[in-house]
Symmetry: C2
Subunit: 647 residues, 2 copies
């Protein structure tokens, strides 16, 4: 390693440590250990442009081990990516640009919010899928419009998480050759040595997944690191590079878990500075280092400039392709008129209505891509143009396999990549399995689309393990997530229309397994308020409901001893943003909430809630519904009883 590289790495290490020391909080272990990896990558491999941080063909880098944030911030600072020296000094303080874990922000070179271990790896898999697909769609001879690598730095913790196996095995299966995983292999985790809890033969594990494995013995040897990355770039499989590092190298407690997540003591800080021959003031950036990083920045800017030139030639030669390329980044504005041509006025399961609409929209919008967790036959959520595979990069159906957690994160990765609209699907009860990924999408303000069919106890025969009860409440409580539970075919269409138009939030659409009637009353303008009246409004009480229960409630209100009204609530998220919610709050008469599952959120609006607070039951779905008293007759009885007590 030449001297300037050495200086840069030391400066990176020191800037990281200075942040942690000043904040008196953070994770010095990875910062000291993995700095040479990060530097090698950005010095020699990663093309990004300071001038256009959202350049679509930039190389992607995800710090899956998000607790190494101080290192990422130091690097972004040196790359002049919007983080000032002062920002570093405000590390982990309120409202700073340098929070505890990296938060998605391209201006700062942060490709994804990370911290929950393993999810960054799965998001990187999603980015690599997007790259393969887009390059297949748009590249022409001599015009590699999309041609970049996706790098991800993982720690030992990331690899213990189940999501890592899901993501890696899919990456290997799909032959994502431009995915390069760098493993900061320091044999230490929070509680002690990795060997306390793992005996995995990593090389064997990785190779079993159809991923190339490389080994770098000395994590300070940038020559070896670069060599391994170069080899990896040439391979025809995803690559995994295990790089042996020493956690907290230079600390008094280097090589132990004591340096993983605790700021160094004063004594240790001195020791570290001595170890690296660093006697500058905190937050110093050496001139030589600044110069070298400027060179790196310039090279990146030039790559982007060249790409822009290439794209302009491409536009002349392939004008149609070029305009298609531009259209991929545009907001999808679904034609409202499609609803009547696609969806006949007949009873159908909303999962079927959803499938019909998705299929048509996938035809109209060629950038819609996604798939199900081994459940396309059940969810009806399938991408177009065949299966995305090694031999068919144009395929827009992703067979995620029974890998829900990675599926969610991969969907986020595709979304983060840009250019594509990504969805994924499964059974509603298993939304639990990807809740962590949905949460991250909401936190990143990205429009990933999650589809869940089999939305209630009406799943029927499969019984309680497969019948969602508390899932709606769980998802409704995630901030910045728009949850839709459509009542009929039209509302299903509207849900998808609104979801696809979203830019700053993910959406969940929950559909039924069983048929529900076509409701003449549902309509788009009211739908946009999140909730609206389906009846005349002259009743003496009001039912608030959603989904399949809506049609039942419409029968119920005309049969009860007092006439009632029905207010359908396709999306509480939308309702709470509209002024209609105020009307509900101030409704003078009795409000009864009705949902076939835990409906705690309805207590915000309703006086009485009829919901389900036990697990489901196995049986014919009509029997199960009746046993929970959600058939029309039972509801009439129960509501009459409620009305009696009011008299």
């Amino acid at each position: 390693m030449n001297n300037i590289d050495n200086l840069c790495i030391t400066n990176l290490r020191m800037l990281s440590i200075d942040q942690i020391a000043k904040a008196n909080s953070g994770h010095p272990g990875i910062a000291l250990g993995a700095a040479p990896i990060l530097f090698s990558l950005f010095q020699n491999h990663i093309s990004i442009s300071k001038k256009n941080t959202s350049w679509i063909n930039r190389d992607r880098f995800v710090l899956s081990a998000g607790h190494g944030s101080s290192l990422l911030y130091a690097n972004s600072h040196l790359l002049s990516l919007g983080l000032s020296n002062e920002d570093l000094q405000n590390f982990r303080s309120l409202n700073s640009k340098t929070p505890g874990h990296p938060e998605y922000n391209l201006e700062h070179g942060i490709e994804a919010t990370t911290g929950p271990l393993g999810q960054g790896l799965a998001m990187a898999v999603g980015m690599a899928i997007a790259e393969e697909h887009l390059s297949a769609v748009f590249n022409r001879e001599d015009f590699n419009i999309i041609d970049h690598y996706t790098y991800v730095l993982v720690g030992d913790g990331c690899l213990q998480e189940g999501i890592s196996e899901e993501a890696l095995s899919l990456a290997g299966h799909l032959g994502l050759k431009k995915l390069i995983i760098l493993h900061d292999s320091n044999d230490i985790q929070l509680d002690g040595k990795v060997s306390l809890t793992s005996s995995v033969d990593l090389k064997k594990r990785i190779e079993s997944l159809n991923i190339s494995y490389y080994y770098v013995e000395d994590g300070n040897d940038t020559t070896q690191i670069n060599k391994a990355i170069k080899k990896a770039k040439k391979g025809n499989k995803p690559s995994f590079i295990e790089i042996k590092t020493k956690i907290g190298e230079g600390s008094l407690v280097e090589g132990t878990n004591k340096i993983h997540g605790n700021p160094p003591t004063k004594e240790d800080l001195e020791h570290i500075r001595k170890y690296y021959n660093w006697d500058y003031a905190p937050f110093t950036v050496l001139d030589e280092v600044e110069k070298e990083y400027k060179r790196i920045v310039k090279a990146g800017n030039k790559e982007c400039f060249n790409w822009t030139k290439m794209f302009s030639l491409y536009s002349s030669k392939y004008p149609e392709q070029a305009s298609k390329f531009v259209s991929y980044s545009k907001k999808i504005d679904v034609d409202l008129n499609l609803v009547s041509s696609l969806l006949p006025e007949k009873a159908d399961a909303t999962r079927n209505s959803f499938g019909i609409v998705l299929d048509k929209l996938s035809d109209i919008y060629p950038n819609i891509i996604g798939g199900s967790a081994d459940l396309t036959a059940s969810t009806k959520a399938k991408g177009r143009d065949g299966d995305f595979s090694i031999t068919n990069r144009l395929g827009r159906n992703i067979n995620f396999g029974v890998r829900e957690h990675a599926m969610g994160a991969i969907t986020n990765g595709i979304t983060l990549h840009g250019g594509l609209v990504a969805f994924c699907a499964g059974f509603f009860v298993f939304s639990d399995y990807l809740k962590p990924a949905i949460r991250l999408a909401a936190m990143m303000n990205i429009p990933s689309l999650f589809i869940f069919s089999h939305d209630s106890i009406a799943v029927g025969e499969d019984g309680p393990t497969h019948e969602p009860i508390e899932q709606l409440t769980a998802l409704r409580s995630i901030p910045n997530l728009c949850v839709f539970r459509p009542a009929d075919a039209k509302e299903t269409f509207y849900s998808l229309k609104v979801a696809l138009a979203s830019r700053n939030n993910p959406s969940v659409i929950v559909t039924t397994r069983q048929n529900v009637p076509y409701l003449k009353q549902t309509n788009y303008n009211d739908f946009l308020d999140g909730g609206y009246l389906l009846t005349e409004g002259d009743g003496e009480y009001l039912i608030i409901t959603s989904g399949s229960e809506t049609a039942t409630c419409l029968q119920v209100v005309s049969k009860t001893k007092l006439k009632g009204d029905v207010f359908v609530l396709p999306s509480i998220s939308l309702l709470e943003k509209s002024n209609v919610s105020e009307k509900i709050y101030s409704y003078p008469n009795l409000i009864i909430g009705v949902e076939m599952g835990d409906a705690t959120h309805l207590y915000k609006f309703a006086d009485i809630v009829l919901d389900i607070n036990t697990f489901g039951r196995s049986g014919k779905y009509q029997d199960v519904i009746a046993s929970f008293r959600f058939d029309a007759d039972s509801l009439v009885e129960d509501i009459n009883e409620i009305l009696d007590t009011l008299e």
Copy 2:
């Protein structure tokens, strides 16, 4: 294979198919394919006793691929385990003993509720851990009081789930030599061929995890199956036996996904019956088969009888050990007086108070076992007697590693095994990762104990990825789960006392990272109601709150323009079972809910809720709290404003 074995297997297959055909619902694929595996196991390897189905030393069998329920029920019927022929005929109908997926019921030979793929495998790992530990504690020369195998049947789907990697890698690390995994390897999953979504070299994968791999080429060859199981039983590692089967063998659509989850057509039913030369009426059990199964039952009963004899000798020779053994199955009744001796009257984080109490109780009760997901240093939840490992089977601390999902399911497995009280711990925000396992514990009515520290935005510097917002709502909405969010040291103690006394429900205890004051007012008798008044009750409004906010609210109510009262709510689950909830519902004055996170459940009781519906922030925890206006001064201001509007 001799003729009688053949007949038994055919009868198993036919009984399964008859159930599915009658119900017109179910999964024939695995039933037809895996019947020989199940038969081999129960004929030659599994010791259970019809006379004592909860015999502690029985072999365990978990059907991780729970959709094969019809096969399991057929087998239990033949074993006379409480399922009549009529029960089989009621397969998947409401209130039957034969629901869509197996539901934990020892009388019917069902060791665990399964269906969500992969969880059965992880529960089996827990059972194997329990076996190793209990045998180390109790066995003496010539007295193998605990000495049984744990078998689990997995499908391809189970192995795709991330939880399988977490569970298998821990099983391999811990050298659980009496765990035998049988893989119904039929290369088909719901959406089609496994090869659509996976290219894993399974042998390599399994061996990389320190697990012995065996292969049986023909899933109908019971000789080979038995041979492999025999070998596996002798090994010194966990064993994985890949058994090649044909999904839906004998069906017109055998070997395809069409037979995975759809009942056979009438034509196919005839074809299947022909294929197996079966021309008996539906639900027929042949006399020879009945006889063979009677033999199997008798052998099992005898094993149990012999064990009882052995245990009585053991009791004479090792009376202390024997009475300790008996005590392991008794309910834990924690001495209330311990609270004052253990917990000084000073401010402390409830995670610390929890750690102190758990440590002491683990000393008193040697059957408490558990650990953290690489977070003992943070959660303070650590088992006694060193780490459970290959060389220390007496260790009661399990280093779960960063494997939250499997951790939850393994904890369930230990609990299901019996004899031990199992806990596990992690950060509250990552409770999402094991929610599916918590749900299953609640569904099985078993008392697993889940501990989550770092309970709110007061996590501080680690920022939004690490700050729970919606987790409390998510867990509070799971049926049959008791959620505790203690306000101080004493309430923490009470939470653990109640949780450990639970027999039919799991518990979650959520603790703080930051210090909270010691509250003289908290007390056990009131705590048991789930919520109680901490102030005089003469105020003009009421705050409902929990956890760390309690102490703040106690300050607030004396500073607002009108005097208020504080009602602390350590457990909504308990509250809703007590009559105190009625008092709250009928409280005449204003009720304000206060919780630093999504507090949707408080809308059940409160008129106004002050909670958090956005993600958290990174910063010193005091700054973060103040930024969300949950410091005392902000709350006084905001509540005064509310009181103003009421005047």
